[in-house]
Symmetry: C2
Amino acid sequence: MKDMRIPILKLHEYLLISVQVDLDDQTAMQFQEDLLSKIHESGATGVVLDLTSVDIIDSFIAKVLGDVVSMADLMGAKVVFTGIQPAVSMTLIDLGIHLQDVPTALDLEQGLIKLRRELEEK
Amino acid sequence: MKDMRIPILKLHEYLLISVQVDLDDQTAMQFQEDLLSKIHESGATGVVLDLTSVDIIDSFIAKVLGDVVSMADLMGAKVVFTGIQPAVSMTLIDLGIHLQDVPTALDLEQGLIKLRRELEEK
């Protein structure tokens, strides 16, 4: 089976990720590891994680995504989620996963604007 | 087997793609189709295609990449390649595929700058 990795793009001091596959457990764990390494090696201060193409998530994936935000935060990088679909937002709330401190935005452009604003406020 | 698709990010009027898997024939063809659809639906005027993580390409993939540039051009979108590795550049030249009219740049940031310049010149 082919190695499934989610590409992480670096643009200026930010990392951009667009998740365009349904995440299975292994892909999600691999992504978590890849993202943290990339933050470390690039010294990125912000991450925009676009979930526009993700239709459903389960509790494991939701936890991985929640964790990666806290982990990135510890490493000094702010994560913004964009394009969270209605079904995904319902799953997150149903599961009791409140991404309360995580800024969200409609799309990649808005996410970058929000990230810039968040980082300026610091 | 899992459906392998290369994510295409839209940022302002541009599309950004970072190829972070070794391209097999099917993935490359799927990518060609996805990119053209995305240009059509988004009305993007430019595409940055980052090949930093591609170590080797064969003649089929090289042809697909060359074709996608011409196809995108017909649809009104300019393609810039970034991060072409030494081995890949050698393969392209050895195969007689001269991407002469295709602008190239070192990385994503430089690619976006080049794209902006190319589009302004038109």
